[in-house]
Structure formats: C-alpha cells, structure tokens
Amino acid sequence: MARSRGFLNELDRLVENIDRIAVAAFSRGPARAAEEIVVDLQEAGPVWSGRFSNSWQIETSDGRRTAGNGASGFPQRISAPLLSGRGFAFDEIKYTISNFSTYADQARDLAEGYYTDPGTTPLKEYDRGTRVSGIRGDLIGNDEGPNRSTAPLDWYATYLRGGAIDRRIKIQLDAELGRIRL
C-alpha cells in the first residue's frame, strides 16, 4: 500500500513537471517569436531617424508590456515579456505587437501623410523617386526624383501576409518544443 502511494506521488510529480515544462515552452516560444518579429519589422521597415523603428512594443494577453524607447538612433532590440503562470491558458496565448509612433500608419503605408525631407541622411539605404500620392512608399522609380524612401511600398503588408511571420513563429515554437526533455 505504502509502495503504491509512493508511486502515485511520483506520478503526480511527473505530471506537474510535464505541465510546468510545457507551459514554459509554450510561453517562451511565442515570446522569442515576438522578439524576432520586431527585429524583422525593424529591418524591413523604414528607418530615417530611427524613431519609428524604436517604437515597437510587445504586449501579452495578461497585460505585461515591453517597448522600445521611441528615440532616434539605430534600431534596438526589445525583450518580450513572458506570460505569467496565472495568465497562461492554452487557448489564450496572445502577444500583440504594435507601434506607438504617431506616424505609424503612414510609415506602414496604411494611410496617406505629409512628408518633408529633413535634409539629413537616413540611417538606412534609400531609393529616390517622385512620390505620386500621399502614400509614403508610392514613388515613381527614377534616381533623380526629389523624394526618398527607406523601405519599399507595402513592406508591412508583405511581411504580415507573405508568410514570413508564420515561418518566424514556427521556427521559435519548434525550437522551444525541441528543448523539452522529460
């Protein structure tokens, strides 16, 4: 009797361990993916002063948040918050990535805007052209044009819908699940 109680206790501990490790993997995977997605967005998106690139933020479904400093300069990495054990639920693993820059919609080519060339050299390579509409990246490609753009038109839609984000999530989840040793 005593032996079977001991076995049941061992079994309980094993189940607890599996729970703990799985929860950790399922929390760390999306967190790492969110961090890498921000890096991808910083690389794919426009970088003039760097303020837009440093204005990405990551929020979890239980209200934790980390954010860039919004300052000019080369894009800096941000660390994603981990979901708390209490906030964790398998059907509600949610990381929200957003940009708090005041001109985030214009930078992502989602809305028209006003553009003035500050006369400085952007931190990223740029293309020249003539802007046809109020859309940031909507340039007619001629090297002599008066306007400059540091990211192609619809770079954000391409990243979001073109499969890169799915692949990033898969890579990170696979990596975390691959680390599980029972």
């Binding site: 028209e112 046809v132 490609g141 619809d154 839609a157 819908r161 073109g162």
Partner: protein, 143 residues
C-alpha cells in the same frame, strides 16, 4: 518559379474588371509611371508583392509563392465615400471570383486569404480620398 504568371493571374482580372466599368477606371500596377503626381482623376493602384517562394510541398512538380495584394482606390476628395466603396466592391468581387475559380491542370492556381479592410484615409493637401484593401495570397504554378 514564374513570377510574371503569378502577377498576371491577379492583375489581368482586375484590369479587365475596371476597364469594363463605364466610364473605365485606369489601373496602375507596380513600376508603371502613368499617374501624374496629384492628379484629381480617379484611379486604382494595385501592388503585388512576394513574400516566401517555394515553401515545402508534398510534390516537387509545383512551385508555391506567398505574398500580398494591396489595392488602393483613389477617388475625388470631399464627395463622400460612395464612389470609392463602389470601386472597392469591384476589386473585392475580382478577388472572390479568383477564389471560386476551379483548379486546372496547368497555369497558376491563385487563392487569396482574408480580405482586410477597407480602410480609408485622406489628407488636407491630397486631392484624393483613398480606400485600401489587402489580402495575402498563395499562388501555385502548376507544371
């Protein structure tokens, strides 16, 4: 991979649909410099982008590409959204028709995912009211 065929699979139906309207509405695609800056004329701009090419498939006889289709409709500002939305309806109908088209043995099998939008924007300076929809797509070039 036949990028041109993939592009044509979505661009041709859009061009046909907008050309068939009365009056016809000009459609401009990537790297076409036909729109003079700040023109007040209504027009449609279609941007087809490529994301991932050649995802793993079950057979080696097909090529897969993923990307995004972004359609912007430029109409006269200050006249309400009706005209813009009418033109967006045309674009949406084309994308939905593509999804209803049966798969053939050869050519390009083109499918769009959720159509996001429309979203609208305008600025004080611009003569246009802009409506925008976007959708991811998966295109399979069948050998």
């Amino acid at each position: 991979m036949n990028y041109q065929a993939i592009r044509a699979a979505v661009e041709n139906p859009l061009l046909s649909a907008f050309s068939a309207l009365v009056p016809a509405v000009p459609v401009y695609f990537d790297n076409i410099t036909a729109v003079p800056p700040n023109t007040t004329t209504e027009y449609v701009r279609v941007n087809v982008t490529f994301g991932i090419t050649n995802e793993a498939t079950l057979t080696s006889s097909v090529d897969n590409a993923r990307g995004a289709v972004v359609i912007r409709v430029f109409t006269e500002k200050g006249r309400g959204p009706a005209r813009n939305q009418t033109l967006l309806n045309t674009a949406t109908a084309v994308l939905e028709t593509l999804n209803d088209t049966a798969k053939t043995a050869t050519g390009v099998y083109f499918r769009v995912s959720n159509i996001n939008g429309p979203t609208f924007s305008s600025t004080e300076d611009s003569p246009h009211f802009v409506g925008r929809i976007e959708a991811g797509y998966v295109a399979t070039v069948l050998s």
